[in-house]
């Protein structure tokens, strides 16, 4: 079955079709949530909530936009809400200062990947910490646009659709995000 057929079957209540639909996108959904929230537990919560919403509301999907855009609109809204709540709670950063220096709570998550990526191994620990700090200092919207453009490779027009804004506004967000990162990482690169 191709994607529209899967969607229609899932709309008729076909559980297997829904599961196949989930598997088309769920790795990227988890990846986006993980990079935006930098917490495996929070990323799992977003994953569950996003696909439960899709399941409950699939009957409202009318093919006005691509399913990918519709799904990401749900995921990014959930992520933005979570990031905004964090800002209120002042828990934006995963980097914490300890008596032994800066520690990142995400280190355990990335450990598995570091072995397979020689480029990653070359990066100094200081640079990694600085990158995470600056990502934490971006506004939720800047962060979302940056993650979707840089890591997910989505076009700015698509990102604008997903965030309910214009391509121009998404471009401005991306520009501000890269400016901030350039300023913060200038000493390292």
């Amino acid at each position: 079955m191709d994607e529209p057929e899967l969607i229609r079957a899932a709309q008729r209540g076909d559980q297997r079709a829904f599961e196949q639909l989930v598997r088309l996108y769920d790795q990227n959904v988890l990846r986006l949530a993980l990079n935006l929230l930098r917490s495996p537990e929070d990323a799992n919560d977003i994953y569950q909530e996003a696909f439960l919403r899709v399941y409950k509301n699939l009957h409202t999907f009318r093919f006005d936009c691509s399913f990918h855009t519709w799904l990401y609109r749900i995921v990014t809204n959930l992520c933005l809400d979570a990031l905004r709540k964090r800002r209120v709670r002042r828990e934006e950063n995963t980097v914490v200062e300890t008596s032994e220096g800066f520690l990142d709570r995400m280190d355990t998550v990335e450990e598995a990947r570091a072995h397979g990526d020689p480029q990653r191994q070359l990066l100094s620990r200081q640079l990694q910490v600085r990158i995470r700090q600056v990502l934490g200092e971006l506004t939720p919207r800047e962060r979302a646009v940056f993650e979707m453009r840089h890591y997910q490779g989505l076009r700015l027009r698509t990102i604008g659709d997903m965030l309910g804004t214009s391509e121009e506004a998404a471009k401005n967000c991306l520009f501000r995000a890269t400016q901030k990162m350039r300023a913060a990482l200038g000493d390292f690169v």
């Binding site: 769920d26 988890l30 990846r31 569950q48 439960l52 399941y55 995470r132 453009r149 520009f175 990482l185």
Partner: protein
């Protein structure tokens, strides 16, 4: 193009988000300007560092997410399109008014539509309509068309009319309609509602047969779960247990399998032990495996068959 302008465009250039003309102008400038070439190299280095900072979920994380989602979905019903959703779906143009304004605007639009239609419809047309004795069909389908003579035609139309019936759920005629609706292959929502009503009448043999049929054959897990709910007082009935055993070994939905285990283990039996042992050999859901193990342990049986 000035250096300052080039510097602001470098990130968008690297993301391939510049227009063809801007990209061309930037490339020409960078070819000629050493400082901007250097700035571009620094941006590329920064992008490489950022690439390496990406977190990729591990396969275990993804598997955990999928397992949890499957378990949660088993307890959730998808919502179905309401009457107004279906009406709205019929229109290809979507308006974006504040939600509170939609109903009054819709009401006014329908009034205007009705008024205009009444004014525009020729009286002769309405006359012939009544003469043909077509009494308010809800839906109709032209089944057969045949020219008769001299420009006249004979048309055979299938009509479906709506009737509203109300009555007690244990009323025989209401129950018969519910039993029919519980098997309607085109509408899972209708089946869920019907089975939900029928499940309170399992003392009727006909209803129990319908519930057993739904548990075994309905494509929708929500319907199967509702039917199982109706069978909970018959967990010791041999026919019910036989069907539940088949469902336990065949159903693809972990929520359904979990509920079947709950029903079956209410009454311990030797037959139950071998069924659970067989399930343990092929079950991949951790939660269900744990339930099986616990049940086998309570029955003093080993987890594996030998």
């Amino acid at each position: 193009m000035k250096c300052e302008e080039v510097r602001t465009m470098l990130p968008l250039f690297l993301y391939g988000e510049l227009s063809f003309d801007d990209e061309e102008r930037l490339e020409v400038h960078v070819d000629e300007c050493a400082a901007c070439r250097d700035a571009l190299a620094r941006h590329k280095a920064m992008f490489t560092s950022l690439d390496a900072a990406e977190i990729l979920p591990t396969q275990d994380q993804l598997d955990d997410c999928r397992t949890e989602l499957r378990q949660r979905l088993a307890h959730v019903q998808p919502e179905h399109a309401s009457f107004w959703d279906k009406i709205r779906e019929g229109f290809s143009v979507h308006f974006h008014f504040a939600p509170g304004l939609m109903q009054p605007i819709g009401a006014v639009a329908m009034l205007v539509l009705g008024f205009v239609a009444a004014r525009m419809t020729p009286g002769s047309l309405l006359g012939s309509f009544h003469a043909a004795s077509v009494a308010e069909p809800v839906t109709s389908r032209v089944r057969y068309v045949e020219p008769v003579s001299q420009g006249r035609v004979q048309i055979v139309v299938d009509e479906t009319r709506q009737r509203v019936l109300s009555g007690s759920v244990d009323d025989q005629s209401i129950q018969r309609l519910l039993l029919t609706a519980a098997k309607d292959p085109s509408d899972a929502g209708l089946r869920v509602e019907s089975v939900d009503l029928l499940k309170n009448q399992p003392q009727s043999a006909e209803v129990r047969r319908a519930l057993l049929y739904a548990v075994q054959h309905d494509a929708n897990a929500g319907v199967r779960l509702k039917a199982l709910d109706g069978l909970k007082d018959f967990a010791d009935d041999p026919e019910t247990r036989q069907v539940l055993t088949q469902v336990l070994l065949k159903d693809n939905n972990p929520g359904v399998r979990t509920q079947v285990i709950d029903l079956l283990i209410q009454h311990h039996s030797n037959a139950m032990v071998s069924v659970l042992q067989e399930l343990m050999m092929k079950e991949d859901n951790d939660y269900i495996r744990m339930r099986c193990q616990k049940a086998l342990h309570e029955m003093n049986a080993s987890v594996e068959s030998y």
